[in-house]
């Protein structure tokens, strides 16, 4: 059975908790030689510097060696070669393949043509499980648990794949979601149906102000991109309505944290950055530990081995 990570949507509650536990251990001791002798391939068919650096740092700090490509020019020189053949070729060299692709379903397909485990680092607008994992870990770390939280999703809820994945992964933990978005970018019907099927409570509003978010435990902001709007008048009308600034946080609960998958456009005013509620830079840092957890998990390195690891460097 291939241990690939293509999506987190169908993971059990226990598995999610287990991966959080691994992430905690890697945060405690980040530098190890646990993966000495292993080769991690990072295949970026579409550039994403942020995600690639995070994965490569995760692997490097565990002592693995890295091969791969990211330059779009390099990938275009392999043009004409099928994904199938590229994966077959790389499978001869690597113990795990981290791949990002512009086509949806690419990682699932890759996992079916090789025994080398695949970690999906984003397939088009479909899934991005390591982002979801770091979101879950960030929520856990800031709240001390994942249960019964009020999570406010703000901005582009239509195309924002991170909010969809987060919604599905949280289903085990009795969350209450609040969807705050302009009409053009509201949460798609299929996810509202999903919430109803899974008994997830949700509220929907177009208003974004200090009163609306006063009960939030997590305020999850997303990018609102101009090109997502079919009606540019609508964009001009709403673009400043979903902008978070410092004075909107006066009524926030003390435990409330602001998350954002980054990079941000102008959804979060820079005056928020120094507010204790701001957590988005730490959130990105948590990606390192979450990705170490995912890499070790697909390589079948379990909690016991990580707890009794005598390769720890610091």
């Amino acid at each position: 059975m291939n241990r690939s990570v293509i999506t987190l949507a169908n993971l059990s509650k226990e598995k999610i908790q287990y991966l959080i536990r691994l992430s905690e251990e890697f945060e405690r001791h980040t530098n190890r030689r646990l993966l000495e002798g292993k080769v991690v391939a990072t295949l970026f068919f579409e550039p994403s510097t942020r995600t690639r650096l995070s994965f490569e740092t995760a692997a490097n700090r565990l002592g693995a060696r890295i091969i791969g490509f990211t330059d779009p020019k390099v990938t275009s020189s392999t043009k004409g070669e099928t994904l199938h053949d590229t994966i077959k070729m790389v499978s001869n060299y690597a113990d795990v393949i981290v791949m990002r692709h512009f086509l949806e379903g690419a990682a699932q397909y890759a996992s079916e043509i090789t025994d080398v485990p695949i970690i999906n680092a984003g397939d088009g607008s479909n899934q991005h499980p390591s982002q979801t994992m770091l979101d879950l870990y960030s929520i856990y770390k800031t709240q001390g648990h994942l249960d019964n939280l009020h999570i406010y999703l703000v901005g582009d809820l239509k195309y924002g794949r991170t909010v969809h994945s987060l919604l599905m992964a949280m289903r085990h933990f009795n969350p209450t979601f609040h969807f705050i978005a302009p009409k053009e970018l509201e949460m798609p019907e299929e996810y509202k149906i999903y919430c109803e099927e899974q008994n997830i409570k949700y509220f929907e509003t177009r208003d974004f102000n200090e009163d609306v978010i006063a009960d939030a435990d997590i305020l999850y902001m997303t990018r609102v991109q101009r090109e997502r709007f079919t009606d540019l008048m609508e964009y001009e009308r709403v673009k400043d309505s979903y902008l978070l600034c410092n004075q909107m946080l006066r009524k926030a609960k003390s435990n409330m944290k602001i998350l954002h998958p980054l990079p941000r456009l102008n959804e979060i005013n820079i005056d928020v950055d120094s507010n204790p509620h701001a957590y988005y830079f730490e959130q990105a840092h948590n990606g390192l530990f979450a990705r170490q957890a995912l890499i070790c998990d697909v390589l079948n390195i379990g909690l016991d081995q990580i707890l009794n690891d005598n390769t720890i460097i610091d």
């Binding site: 099928t82 994904l83 199938h84 692709h101 512009f102 086509l103 949806e104 379903g105 690419a106 699932q108 397909y109 397939d123 088009g124 607008s125 479909n126 899934q127 299929e190």
Partner: protein, 156 residues
């Protein structure tokens, strides 16, 4: 046995696929890959039918199909009947049933799906049989069965 049944049973052993809407005949031929079959195949086109007005049928000698192969036909014609013939007798009649998944039959409507960009078979999961809702195994986009386009035969 009446004349109609005799006509249907006129192969010694094999399979008769009956009640095919005439407009779907070629699609059924393609789905079952009958062009590759070496045993005799007889096609009846635009025959009279009490139930359907006009129908088509296909008789395939010395060949039986698995339920899975046959159920793939439900995409093009859900009311097809299947007769298993042994020694000139109809030993079993079956209706096709909507399978749990469709392999290499439906084309994904998502242009950014890997299946539309690699030489590979599509897989769709039938996530709601009553409403006919399909979900692409790869890109996870959902599609209504009545809107589904079949893959072009060269890709099957």
């Amino acid at each position: 046995m009446n004349k109609e049944e005799l006509k249907v049973s006129a192969i010694q052993n094999g399979t008769v696929i009956d009640h095919i809407p005439s407009s779907k005949l070629l699609a059924v031929v393609a789905l079952l890959h009958l062009e590759n079959i070496k045993t005799p195949v007889t096609v009846g086109y635009n025959l009279k039918s009490k139930k359907m007005g006009k129908k088509s049928l296909i008789k395939i000698a010395d060949r039986y199909f698995t339920d899975e192969e046959i159920n793939q036909l439900s995409v093009v014609s859900p009311n097809v009947t299947l007769c298993i013939i042994k020694d000139y007798d109809v030993v079993e009649k079956k209706q096709v049933q909507m399978p749990d998944s469709l392999h290499g039959i439906v084309q994904c409507p998502n242009p950014k799906c890997i299946t539309n960009n690699e030489p590979m078979k599509t897989i769709f999961h039938v996530i709601n049989k009553e409403k006919g809702v399909l979900k692409c195994h790869y890109c996870e986009k959902e599609e209504k069965l009545e809107k589904a386009r079949l893959v072009s035969p060269s890709n099957v």
